[in-house]
């Protein structure tokens, strides 16, 4: 993918009220690479992801997309104008654990909405592109369905199509398969794998260690707001040195064995 984004995260800090959710987080993501974020519940994975498109506002440090600081005009400076921020968000797709589709619109409507309101395309053109995006995730025959008439896996694929239709250069996934029945996980992961092979830059918060092992270029482990370690999947998942990673993987394996 020619226009894939890079992301640089430098000494990022974020509080939720009194709670220090991100502590001096550093992370580099190269264009076209897949990064999986793993770690125990409450470690700050979602918070970090939401800081990258400034849905959560970090307080200090820098997050740069293709070299451009997001959220602030300069490091430690004033907030960037809302219009400028929206422009940056256009090219960052996000997929949520709970899908977050708009239930009053059809699948096609969900995907076309951003094309019309954000990209300003006329309805016919927006719908044509929305159709293409839905075809790409294998849902050409479900375009007219409202979300309530789709399975969880289908809903999540519509959500992915909604993000892809905007032609993003970076995709953020926050536990995209955690709300799905086990038999529906595969169809969503397959769409994500295709995207990865096409060269999309992807940051994926996940508990799917298989996906992390086989698709990720790097795996980052977080605990208590700190980015403990980042390395190739094998080093983190199979030869972890840090005791915190070992402990995390041990509980993961215990939970997943029977």
């Amino acid at each position: 993918m020619p226009g894939a984004s890079s992301v640089e995260i430098r000494k990022v800090n974020k509080h939720h009220g009194q709670f220090h959710a991100l502590k001096d987080v550093d992370l580099d993501i190269l264009p076209g690479k897949v990064t999986c974020l793993i770690g125990p519940s409450g470690s700050g994975k979602s918070t970090l992801l939401r800081c990258i498109n400034f849905l959560d506002e970090y307080e200090s440090g820098e997050i740069r997309i293709d070299g451009q600081l997001i959220g602030y005009e300069s490091p430690g400076g004033r907030k960037m104008p809302a219009r400028k921020l929206r422009e940056m968000r256009r090219s960052i797709g996000m997929v949520f654990q709970q899908f977050n589709l708009w239930p009053h619109m059809t699948a096609l409507g969900n995907v076309a909405e951003g094309l019309m309101r954000v990209r300003g395309l006329p309805k016919a053109e927006a719908e044509r592109r929305a159709k293409n995006a839905l075809e790409k995730v294998g849902l050409a025959d479900k375009m007219a369905n409202h979300p309530s008439r789709l399975s969880g896996g289908q809903q999540q694929r519509v959500a992915i199509a909604r993000a892809l239709a905007m032609e993003p250069r970076l995709m953020l996934f926050d536990e995209p398969t955690s709300a799905l029945d086990p038999e529906l996980v595969g169809e969503v992961l397959n769409v994500m794998k295709t995207l990865a092979t096409e060269g999309m830059t992807m940051i994926v918060v996940t508990h799917e260690m298989g996906f992390a092992a086989h698709v990720a270029d790097q795996v980052a482990f977080m605990e208590q707001g700190e980015l403990v370690s980042v390395d190739v999947p094998d080093k983190i998942l199979h030869q972890p040195k840090d005791p915190r990673i070992k402990a995390f993987l041990r509980t993961y394996h215990e939970r997943n064995s029977f």
Binding site: L55, R86, R89, R117
Partner: protein
């Protein structure tokens, strides 16, 4: 004995009076919807004094009986030099009172929407104006329809209170009619039928709207 003839002949003059009931209810709710939109916006505003004002508005209007509000409106305004016709006082009070309830209905509906839907819209770069007009309000409005129809039905019934400022609406007219004909049972039964008819129509309208706007 119950006289069917009296019962039937009561309808015509009562229909006449029922026009006031309808007029006051419909204009009242229309005014109420407009004010409620402003109060609801204020109650969700980031500006604290606006939120306080909305809270005060709602708690006063819900805490004081409509009858007292009506009398206040009708007798207080002339004191400060504003002379209001009875009909204006009635519609104004009913509207203002309804606005308190409707704004709370809407606030509840808006806050009931899962926050993730707004996050998803924000994430693709939608502007707040579009998020409100395309995502939040259409759903909140649909969600609030049953409660709105309920409110309108309550208003139709509460509109009988405006007789205290001298408007001959349905209830007041039936009292007068009962007094002149000495046939209270027939007259009040006819009045009941008219109220019921109005409210059944409203309920049907509500169901139609809900059906049309349902996903």
């Amino acid at each position: 004995m119950f006289s069917v003839a009296t019962f039937l002949s009561s309808f015509e003059p009562l229909f006449w009076a029922a026009r006031y009931t309808l007029l006051i209810s419909v204009l009242g709710i229309a005014l109420g919807l407009v004010i409620a939109a402003l109060i609801c916006a204020a109650s969700l505003s980031r500006i604290a004094p606006l939120r306080w004002f909305a809270a005060l508005w709602v708690s006063f209007l819900r805490g004081v009986p409509l009858l007292v509000q009506l009398l206040l409106f009708y007798y207080l305004l002339p004191v400060i030099g504003i002379d209001v016709p009875a009909l204006v006082a009635a519609v104004g009070t009913v509207g203002i009172c309804a606005s308190a309830y409707i704004s709370e209905i809407w606030r509840g509906a808006i806050q009931a929407l899962p926050t993730g839907q707004v996050a998803a819209a924000t994430a693709i770069g939608m502007a707040p104006r579009d998020i409100w007009s395309r995502i939040v309000l259409p759903q909140a409005f649909t969600l609030s329809l049953p409660a709105l129809v309920n409110e309108l039905i309550l208003l139709v019934k509460a509109s009988s209170l405006v007789s205290v400022v001298g408007i001959l609406e349905l209830t007041r007219a039936s009292q007068a009619q009962a007094a002149t004909t000495f046939r209270p049972l027939e007259v009040y039964l006819a009045a009941a039928c008219i109220y019921l008819l109005i409210n059944l129509c409203l309920a049907a309208l509500g169901r139609y709207l809900e059906h049309r706007m349902a996903v």
